[in-house]
Symmetry: C2
Subunit: 84 residues, 2 copies
């Protein structure tokens, strides 16, 4: 079966996010108020072929740990949707 | 009220995604099968202070159009969650 996987990779809370700080600065310098704690992460979408949702989840977790995220600095979550 | 906004920015389908192709190549060269259509986007999280969810949505849409996404090549979606 085909699944669409969406993997969200974000820097861990304790890790500084200079890209986020820069965007937050840009937002403020344009005069917008009320925006804070901007953090920028990655969103990886992929199509996975697997026999079951469980198997797809195992594959996506392995890929996220090995390739998509740096486990020292980043954490990830994923969601799977079956493609009909 | 405080809202947590999550903005997903992805390249439009018609736009080539070299970063995604590279990751897909890496996945395949490590021997994983069944993974295709890898696309890499951005995930921006921020805290927004606004009077209502509608107002927060308007602000986030404006920020996404002006700063977070390049409307020529990228599309975005967002979700808001109230922070209690």
């Amino acid at each position: 079966m085909l699944y669409k996987a969406e993997v969200k990779v974000a820097l861990k809370q304790a890790v500084l996010d200079p890209q986020g700080s820069t965007v937050e600065g840009a937002v403020k310098s344009l005069g917008y108020k009320g925006v804070s704690q901007v953090r920028i992460g990655k969103l990886i979408e992929m199509t996975v072929e697997a026999e079951s949702e469980e198997q797809a989840g195992t594959l996506v977790t392995e890929l996220a740990k090995k390739i998509l995220a740096n486990p020292v600095m980043e954490s990830f979550t994923y969601s799977l949707t079956e493609v009909k």
